[in-house]
Symmetry: C2
Subunit: 481 residues, 2 copies
């Protein structure tokens, strides 16, 4: 659908207007569009297929650790949201409220879930009696609503899709292990599937989740040098357990509060995927996340070649399926050039061109989306060549992004250098006093925030880049989406 | 989790209180429970696993017909909902309204989607330009909200999960084919996976979807003789196309309105599944929809037998996986009887008991959930025996339900017999004038409605059971959920 409209529009180059480039790539690849409701997006089939693949990969990994899926209501009574003090403070400005239903005014307003800690933990408190009921490991795939002023397709929308995991443990140690286990699953997904290198770490006080004891994050660098918070995993301590009375009898029969975690990943990662790999021709997808990994384009300059070429294309399609490669055979009656252009925009990692001349020499041509490199491959070797080339593409995209991250992360020790580095789109490793006031000042002056206190932080004496107070190590500052 | 609580409660028998039995089965099998928000349910892991399996089966079938998944916003501007007249008439009493968000009163109230025709078709009208953009075949898996007064777990809840398919075609014939194609997919799913026999047919005027030209349905019979509308498929004609300007240029360049369909299946089918097969011991699941098909229970009367029994149990588990059977090895340190009781309540189709005596003779015992039948099977034949017994269970459950449907569907020609038949929980084939007034009268007096005008209706002259007016054929009346 819609080819007619999209074929006409050119993608703005990154150098000219990065923001417009992002929107153009999304439009050209038919991933999503704005809806009649302000701030809410429509995820189109090509975009939704990326979310489905994300769900499939993560869901398996979650379940392998014992997590079970469930579904909780999207409507939350206002009184529940208010139960944990810092939680409601954090979310109050963003909630949407149902006041009328079934033709009547409701006695108590209902909130559309911005996240589900409150309704889930109210229920968990009834489910859990004894240490034998623990750990409780629940995940839900759902839509959530957060009323955002400035929205941007995938990155920040009023409604978005996500998964939210919620667990209860009998010890603090087990909860903390779970927090890091899930962060590692996210890191594995980001790096080994989406080919997005990330920096794992802990959030500063002012950036942590409303109600959490500690928030852990993985941070990615986009092509403009801005950070994208890929996903987070929270150690909730006993904050919510105390507010919602999530308690259990331990082995000695003593009442204890549970230790809780929550962790989530949303459709915003698709925004991160787009901004990490795409180029001025359009979307670029790593093979391991691409719903379609290969497109086969038959080339039929003369009608009498048609049968042979189509038969061979069909054979190639079937052979690829046998080795688990998802491909598309584009047999539409339009010029090959038009097809190349379309599949380039849509980010299909590899193209196979099959024409009568190639077949005469028992070969086909394969073309990489990431580098544009063309290669002639003999037909009997094709499956193997496709598998290994897809691996090369996956690795190349990761390396490219990783080089960018490494080259654009610098250590800085003076305020002047800090400002310059932030302005030129760097991730900056700098000393920091740890105080929220100072972070706020830095944000006001430069737009940068503490992205994380990285796990690889080295103990090192220094002075805070802004306040001059003593510091034990560097944190990572950047502007962010 | 929760074993402690649920083990204590006994399931009410169907003969004593059918409604309570239904709720008890759900509680005992830990499928769902009521939430702190009136009318909304929490789908617990065992219940959600059934929905996941439903999604997986249907999603593949949809995609095989060219349907693509997408996601549209859950918030719908009030003005859009009002565009198609009979649609808003049907849904107005059930909508929930967001009036405030982000701390402010909204300029235009937003409706929580009760279904997505309006927002989708507003967008489709922009997507579609030419006949080359057709057919457009979109499906979405989502939550919807309909404000219901009397709710019942799975069967009728304020929020429920479903899929809604929406298609646009260039001809009326193609649209009608799609309507019946999807109804057939639902029928296949009901009968061949959920083992629920259904009667396909067309809805009467008063029971059809608000805004549809025709609604098609498949109707199932529950154990109390009431009907459950399993799912519906609507031919929307050009009603919405005209209201939302969904038009296209045909091959001659003339503007035409699209021909549309929509079709949906919701979490209520899980209610139908429970009520079709379960018994006084709890849930009974057909193997093809059961997330876990087999439970393996090692029996270790003496500690010294433990290693052998556990090793053999593990081998059985691995062997079953090789032939695609999903099983659970219950190695908890509790009495086997407790395990049997628990898995019976949870509806696992087949149990394998492995003890030292059996192993001495190289056999195990298998026990069917549907009939309770026990059988000794030699170990080398186990895989084959499990596969064939699961098939027997699947077929037996379907036959049992089908016999019930056939035996309790009767033709009736007098009003007295009609009343008696409806009171005794039958599906009644009776002549009917086709007028909505008469249907309303019948409903008032007996509680029965026209479930469908069945596809197998025979042309036959008769007089309407209520009004005495002439009729050309019998329709199916029943009380319904």
């Amino acid at each position: 659908m819609e080819q007619t409209k999209n074929d006409e529009k050119k993608i703005t180059s990154r150098a000219v207007d990065y923001s417009q480039w992002y929107l153009d790539v999304i439009e050209a690849a038919q991933l999503a569009e704005n809806s009649p409701v302000k701030g809410c997006m429509i995820i189109k089939p090509c975009g939704y297929a990326l979310w489905e693949k994300t769900q499939k990969i993560l869901d398996e990994k979650f379940k392998a650790t014992g997590v079970e899926n469930a579904y909780f209501p999207m409507l939350i009574p206002e009184r529940l949201l208010k139960r944990e003090e810092s939680h409601i403070e954090g979310f109050a400005p963003e909630v949407a409220v149902v006041t009328h239903a079934g033709g009547k005014k409701l006695e108590e307003p209902l909130i559309l879930r911005p996240t589900s800690e409150t309704i889930m933990y109210e229920v968990f408190s009834k489910w859990i009696r004894s240490h034998r009921d623990l750990p409780l490991l629940i995940n839900q795939w759902a839509n959530v609503i957060r009323w955002e002023m400035r929205t941007r397709l995938f990155l920040r929308t009023t409604e978005f899709l996500w998964q939210e995991g919620h667990t209860v443990h009998s010890t603090e140690e087990e909860a903390q292990n779970r927090v890091l286990m899930m962060l590692n699953i996210y890191k594995d997904f980001a790096e080994n599937y989406m080919a997005i290198p990330v920096i794992p770490g802990r959030k500063s006080e002012s950036e942590k989740f409303a109600g959490a004891k500690d928030t852990y994050t993985i941070e990615a660098m986009m092509q403009d040098g801005k950070a994208l918070q890929f996903s987070t995993s929270h150690n909730l301590g006993q904050n919510f357990a105390k507010a919602f009375d999530v308690n259990f009898l331990d082995e000695s029969g003593t009442k204890q509060y549970g230790w809780q975690t929550s962790w989530g990943l949303s459709t915003r990662v698709i925004g991160g995927l787009i901004m990490t790999h795409s180029d001025d021709k359009g979307l670029v997808l790593p093979p391991k996340i691409a719903p379609t990994q290969v497109v086969i384009v038959p080339i039929v300059p003369k009608e009498w070649d048609k049968q042979l070429v189509m038969e061979e294309s069909q054979t190639v399609f079937s052979n690829l399926r046998l080795v688990g490669i998802s491909s598309k055979l584009d047999d539409r009656n339009i010029r090959p050039g038009e097809k190349y252009y379309e599949w380039e925009k849509k980010g299909i990692p590899l193209r196979i061109e099959i024409g009568p001349k190639d077949l005469a020499s028992n070969t086909v041509v394969i073309v990489r989306r990431d580098t544009g490199e063309k290669k002639t491959v003999s037909l009997p070797d094709l499956n193997e060549a496709v598998v290994s080339t897809l691996e090369l593409i996956q690795n190349n995209l990761f390396e490219q992004a990783n080089n960018r991250l490494v080259e654009n992360t610098i250590s800085v020790d003076s305020w002047e250098d800090f400002i310059k580095a932030i302005e030129s789109g760097k991730f900056v490793r700098a000393h920091y006093s740890g105080s929220a006031d100072v972070e706020e000042e830095i944000k006001k002056e430069t737009g940068a925030t503490v992205r994380c206190i990285p796990f690889d932080q080295v103990e090192e004496s220094g002075v805070c880049i802004k306040s001059g107070k003593p510091s034990n190590g560097r944190v990572i500052f950047a502007k962010s989406y």
